[in-house]
Symmetry: C2
Subunit: 220 residues, 2 copies
DNA sequence: GCAACTAATTAGACTGTTCTAATAAAATCA
DNA sequence: TGATTTTATTAGAACAGTCTAATTAGTTGC
């Protein structure tokens, strides 16, 4: 008996927890664009339902049950994104908002069919892993482009944020998942990187952009 | 700024109006499985928004505005049903419930893409016409199987109800849209029809079933 | 360690959507 | 036409989800 609303709270807690293992009311409020007192009262409700662990004035954590529910919503979201890109011809910068609506559809058949038609994908169009039917998810060990040094050659594997504007910036520069990137130089002052790929002329990427790009060393 | 709820009321009024041009509170209540006082108060809200014409103790009618909104929701519903059947491999008996959820997605791009991928279909998997982007819909002149006489040969064109059970009954009997049906006899007492099609042995269909099957004379 | 700031909570209100119980109007039918 | 049944309405309550304003608890910086 999940409401749309509850699912959005769980998803937000899940995403924020990914970094620190917990989320505080203030962050949730900003992320969901819902005022703090509202978030606060919802935390009590989620705690009553044993979906989160909540004590006054402390950050919240998902319970095992809450984590599983959140992961399954994220599974639906990411399967949908993949379907929209692979089977319907949308761009990776167009699918987030649509998937946010479709993820709330209550029909396991529907998502099972997507999964099957896609050949049981492990990642979404942004390189993020798709949790399995039990809510288990495996993050391959990537690192941020930011953390690379001059001379490194790496493969673009995923983005950590999927905002329209960010993805369009990458589109314009023809940077796609799988692109092999060579770091030509790193500006000491502000972290701006100059990179080369696809035999194009060098591109410069700001620190903020490099912080949102995940890469793997060029082996496999 | 349509809510999910409002859309469901409009759709119900639209569907009930198809027959008589108007709908009363009692019917709406049964159809939506929402109690009469709730429906009643919603009628006032819809009237305030100029979506329906409502006077106490009288049936409601959609305004031009309300009719257009309803038709556009039905467009989304039927496009979705067609997509689920044609592009995802669902059966015509499986798609109604899923489409009821997806029809509320707010993204014209999403439905435009479906429409395009489907080659701009004019009918849904149950033979019902899909309203165009302006909410205009054309019903070809079909008649009920019920109204046919012994000896008539007709083509199965559409169903007037899409309940699971009804469609499964047709599945079991291999009755599909396009099937050419010959009426062998009609039972005078209860209207049961004996029909023949696809070179199978004759089948008997109850009056209720025949009432929900729309057919065309066998010309075009 | 206190002042100032930030984060979190409480209290109370409002909207949307639903309900039940009671009442009233309209329709039916004998 | 008057009694009965059906349909519709009003009144009032409830819950989910949101808000603002006021208060309290923690945190940070001298």
């Amino acid at each position: 008996m999940n409401t749309h609303t509850e699912e959005n709270y769980l998803k937000a807690i899940y995403n924020l927890s990914a970094v620190k293992g917990e989320a505080n009311v203030n962050e949730l409020s900003r992320h969901l664009e819902i005022k703090m007192p509202t978030v606060n009262s919802m935390m009590k409700r989620l705690a009553d339902k044993k979906l989160i662990v909540y004590e006054s004035y402390k950050p919240v954590r998902l319970t095992t049950k809450g984590e599983k529910e959140a992961a399954l919503i994220i599974r639906k979201h990411r399967l949908t994104e993949m379907f929209l890109v692979e089977k319907m011809g949308f761009g990776w910068d167009e699918v987030h908002g649509i998937a946010e609506q479709i993820e709330h559809v209550q029909s396991s058949d529907f998502f099972a069919k997507m999964d099957e038609l896609l050949g049981f994908p492990k990642i979404d169009p942004h390189g993020s892993p798709i949790p399995d039917k039990n809510g288990k998810m495996e993050w391959t060990e990537y690192h941020k482009l930011n953390e690379c040094k001059t001379g490194d050659i790496v493969i673009f594997k995923a983005v950590t944020h999927s905002s329209d504007d960010f993805l369009k910036l990458l589109n314009v520069r023809e940077l796609q998942l799988g692109t092999i990137i060579k770091i030509k130089s790193v500006e000491a002052f502000d972290g701006t990187m100059t990179i080369e790929y696809n035999k194009r002329k060098p591109e410069m990427l700001s620190h903020l952009v490099c912080d949102r790009i995940l890469v793997a060393n060029r082996k496999k």
